[in-house]
């Protein structure tokens, strides 16, 4: 029997579906093999996650904010700045729950970068280059780690008189697409210090700041989860989302008991039905999709020479207006996001026999809003005619949070009502400014 202080389970390479748990059926004698398979199958559930927790794209823009590179960067004298500097510019800030045992990766599509200016007076060329980074701060309510920077360089364009020239021929940016991946975005020492891994294995929050600098010409970024490893302390007999079942049957007992399986020093909770039920309970309550996140960044209006973060979306109205269109109120046929929670329907909200009867689905959600208001503002995240979450009391710049329910897809191909973000400054003479919105499945606080 294992006798380890930390119970760890790597979550890499697990088969996604159809675990061999068919042996457990009514009127079947319980034997170890199917029960062990069931315990291992629990580990595959969070290990299937590839949830996108933050993203950025050109989002419909018809050109990059980065100048195209036709101006001489070394014009000298009193000539104005015509290219961005090496100051970081924040594309967006996203707050997210992280699926237990997962780390993050960032996939970045871009085209060769443009020119960069330095000096300040006179301005001079700093060459053609760009850089993208993810700043990650991890919290779990007790411990904090970060911000940790995870960065990648983007090579400069070699085209043009001064280099850094943007493509101009038909479709040329498509044939110039470059792609990189930033891996291993996780708390420092996660894989080398089990005590750190214990801290951040279960229901960690992460705040992700996506930033660029230099002459970046980014096309799209997605930051997503990949399973890595989950660690619990030997004495942990609480709800947990990963069973941490060893992959082999070999060292285990032939019967599913808790106490008899203990090691000589460290307790062992992984082999009984108690842990089995704890994991099923926690997974039932908490696993679900990342519902949405957005940043106010607008590639068409941002000034890469002066702006260091998005210009906020603003509302100046005593009634609720759509943050993007300015239209009054919620519109069932208007544009928005989708709440793709068909696989995360909770029994108490969506039971198909008596409660929802196949007519609707509703998921619990937590909203976090990065906003400020010159008066007292409110942001309303609404999906469906009757389901909204209000984040009120917005005054000085901060991240505000609230919980509630949102209508969801019933099936993956359900043309469900859109999620829209509305805001009011409470008074037509005040201004509500919203920089970002993050919505997670579930209502727990980390």
């Amino acid at each position: 029997m294992t006798n380890e202080q930390y119970k760890a389970r790597t979550l890499l390479g697990l088969d996604p579906t159809s675990p061999a748990i068919g042996g457990i059926a009514p009127w079947t004698r319980l034997r170890w093999s199917p029960l062990g398979a069931l315990m291992r199958a629990q580990d595959t559930v969070p290990a299937t996650s590839r949830r996108i927790v933050a993203s950025w794209s050109l989002s419909g823009a018809q050109d990059w904010a980065q100048p195209n590179g036709t101006n001489d960067p070394n014009a000298g004298g009193a000539s104005p700045q015509t290219y961005p500097t090496n100051d970081w510019r924040t594309l967006g800030v996203h707050q997210a729950h992280v699926t237990p045992g997962c780390e993050l990766r960032a996939q970045v599509l871009y085209c060769p970068a443009g020119l960069v200016h330095k000096g300040g007076g006179p301005w001079a060329s700093d060459g053609a280059w760009g850089e993208f980074r993810v700043r990650a701060t991890w919290t779990n309510g007790v411990a904090t780690d970060g911000p940790n920077n995870h960065s990648m360089m983007m090579e400069g364009s070699t085209k043009g008189t001064y280099t850094g020239l943007e493509n101009s021929g038909a479709g040329q940016n498509w044939s110039d697409i470059r792609e990189k991946q930033i891996t291993d975005i996780r708390p420092a020492e996660y894989l080398t210090d089990p005590a750190v891994a214990v801290d951040f294995s279960e229901w960690t929050d992460v705040e992700l700041t996506l930033q660029i600098r230099g002459g970046a010409r980014v096309i799209a970024v997605c930051v997503f989860e990949v399973p890595r490893a989950h660690v619990t302390l030997h004495s942990n007999d609480q709800l947990t989302s990963v069973h941490a079942m060893p992959p082999s049957n070999a060292p285990q007992t032939s019967f599913p008991q808790t106490k008899a399986a203990d090691g000589t020093t460290y307790e062992e909770h992984r082999f009984g039905t108690r842990r089995l039920m704890q994991v099923a309970e926690r997974q039932s309550e908490r696993l679900g999709p990342r519902i949405m996140s957005m940043s106010a960044w607008n590639e068409s209006t941002i000034d890469p020479l002066t702006d260091t973060e998005p210009d906020p979306l603003t509302v100046q109205s005593a009634s609720y207006l759509d943050l993007i269109t300015g239209a009054a109120g919620y519109d069932l046929n208007g544009p928005g996001w989708i709440v793709a929670g068909s696989n995360a329907q909770l029994h108490r909200l969506c039971d198909p026999r008596l409660i929802a009867r196949g007519r609707f689905a509703v998921v619990p959600a937590r909203v976090r809003v990065d906003a400020s208001c010159t008066g007292t503002g409110t942001v309303r995240v609404q999906c469906g005619r009757y389901e909204w979450i209000e984040i009120g009391g917005i005054t000085s710049r901060d991240v505000y949070t609230a919980v509630g329910y949102l209508q969801s897809q019933i099936f993956a191909d359900h043309n469900a009502p859109p999620l829209q973000v509305l805001g009011t400054s409470g008074n037509a003479s005040r201004v509500l400014s919203v920089y970002g919105v993050s919505v997670d499945f579930g209502q727990w606080a980390s």
Partner: protein, 463 residues
């Protein structure tokens, strides 16, 4: 507006599904009587009647009737209503802009709990004899309107102590005007005790009796969503059709580890329960691959789409399909799905003349089309697409489903398991219109949701 008065049915009111609404159309303002609620596993009391004194026949599984008083239905020394949260209280009533007073009361003195019209047009809740929040009823006039009033309570996940342990939401539907509003408030846990419970007044002799008409009451041992209350009491919803069978999407009875002792006794039923839950949780982390409300919505024309623009190229399989690089995104494909469903928000119109067909497609590529092997993941590109041709009627803008398709997964290097999603537009792809230059298209949202289709592509298997 004349409206049939609902509430003449008694007994267990099984909702009859009627196709009175679709997901994306407004529901409300019907002359047809709304549904009348349904007794469920968590129902503690459900009664329907022409007035509150007729709301005494319990339709819940407990069948514990209340007693008719003066302008009230009541129960002395009530324990079933001695409950703080989670719970839901619903009162269906008719009221005008002068009706006031009590819809529900439990407790006395410092334990007083009330749901009432504290003034004309104004709903209010009290717990522990303290007013918690008020809500203005929308759209009330001199004639009585049909209202549904609901008060839900649940544990506050953001509680900082006893003072905000419970999160309550007060909701009201004006069924006649089609308006709805809600407000939430945090407050302490209800002071429990065995008190008289009263619908429609402050006591059984009609003190502070509601001046309007109560036609249905519900007490639920569960926090109901507003959507559920609306579907049960305001306007029934139809069940959408689906090709993405949700075999594992519904949770089933959630497991509870509290049934086990430390020795894992009773492991047989518990194991079967956990087994069932694990199967249902199989795709619990599956989520959208693209969920974008576009920040920038240019008005596209045929000339812009076909211009020599570095951002735009034709799709590999059909150069008429014009793809902007601003609509391209990478997405990681989970191992447990093999199909995609796609919808976009489209506004399509003409500046003059006859409508012009516009084809909208979403492509799934195994690598960015036209990209060289930079960053790994070479090999031939594979692609799938789904789409539709919009003919007319989209001037106001609406969501359009593009259908479903398999997923083109990247192989090798950093493209392993990735897909690249690109939107494409083609104006008059079959040369059926002579009005191409008048076509205008705006794309405001792109949604791509994965799922598992039995008989679809085999899922990845790890060695």
């Amino acid at each position: 507006m004349s409206r049939a008065v609902p509430g003449t049915r008694t007994g267990v009111a099984l909702g009859v599904p009627r196709a009175t609404s679709q997901a994306l159309t407004a529901v409300q303002s019907s002359d047809v009587a709304g549904p009348t609620g349904t007794a469920k596993q968590s129902t503690r009391y459900l009664a329907i009647g022409a007035s509150v004194t007729a709301c005494i026949d319990d339709a819940s599984q407990y069948d514990l009737d209340m007693t008719a008083g003066t302008s009230a239905a009541y129960e002395n020394a009530s324990t079933r209503f001695n409950h703080s949260h989670p719970r839901t209280i619903v009162v269906r009533c008719q009221a005008n802009n002068t009706d006031t007073l009590n819809l529900w009361r439990h407790g006395t003195g410092g334990s007083l709990e009330l749901l009432r019209f504290s003034a004309a047009n104004t709903l209010q809740i009290l717990t522990n004899n303290t007013a918690r929040v008020t809500l203005t009823v929308p759209g009330l006039g001199a004639s009585r309107a049909n209202l549904v009033v609901a008060w839900t309570s649940e544990a506050n996940p953001d509680t900082t102590g006893a003072a905000d342990a419970v999160l309550s939401t007060l909701m009201v539907w004006n069924v006649d005007s089609g308006e709805y509003d809600a407000v939430s408030v945090a407050h302490p846990t209800k002071s429990l005790g065995s008190f008289q419970a009263v619908w429609g007044a402050g006591d059984n002799v009609g003190t502070n009796a509601f001046t309007g008409i109560i036609t249905g009451v519900l007490y639920e041992n569960r926090r109901m969503s507003a959507t559920e209350i609306g579907a049960d009491w305001v306007a029934d919803l139809s069940t959408p059709l689906s090709a993405a069978h949700p075999e594992t999407s519904l949770q089933g009875l959630p497991p509870s580890s509290g049934i086990l002792d430390a020795e894992s006794h009773w492991h047989g039923p518990a194991a079967v329960w956990a087994c069932d839950a694990t199967r249902r949780l199989e795709r619990r982390c599956l989520q959208w691959l693209r969920n974008e409300r576009l920040r920038i919505v240019p008005t596209w024309t045929n000339a812009l789409l076909t211009a020599a623009d570095a951002f735009i190229r034709g799709a590999p399989s059909d150069s008429d399909d014009r793809m902007s690089i601003a609509w391209l995104e990478p997405a990681p494909v989970p191992d447990n799905c093999n199909h995609l469903w796609v919808r976009v928000h489209v506004r399509s119109y003409v500046t003059s003349g006859a409508a012009v067909p516009v084809r909208i497609r979403l492509y799934s590529f195994s690598k960015p089309p036209g990209a060289l092997g930079f960053g790994g993941g070479g090999g031939a590109i594979t692609s799938y697409f789904c789409g539709t041709t919009v003919l007319e009627g989209y001037a106001a803008g609406r969501f359009v489903s593009l259908g479903t398709m398999p997923i083109a997964r990247g192989t090798g290097g950093i493209r392993e398991g990735m897909t690249y999603l690109a939107l494409a537009l083609a104006v008059d792809p079959n040369n059926e219109s002579g009005n191409d230059s008048a076509a205008r298209i705006e794309i405001s949202a792109i949604h791509v949701v994965p799922y598992f289709r039995a008989g679809g592509a085999q899922l990845p298997v790890h060695p």
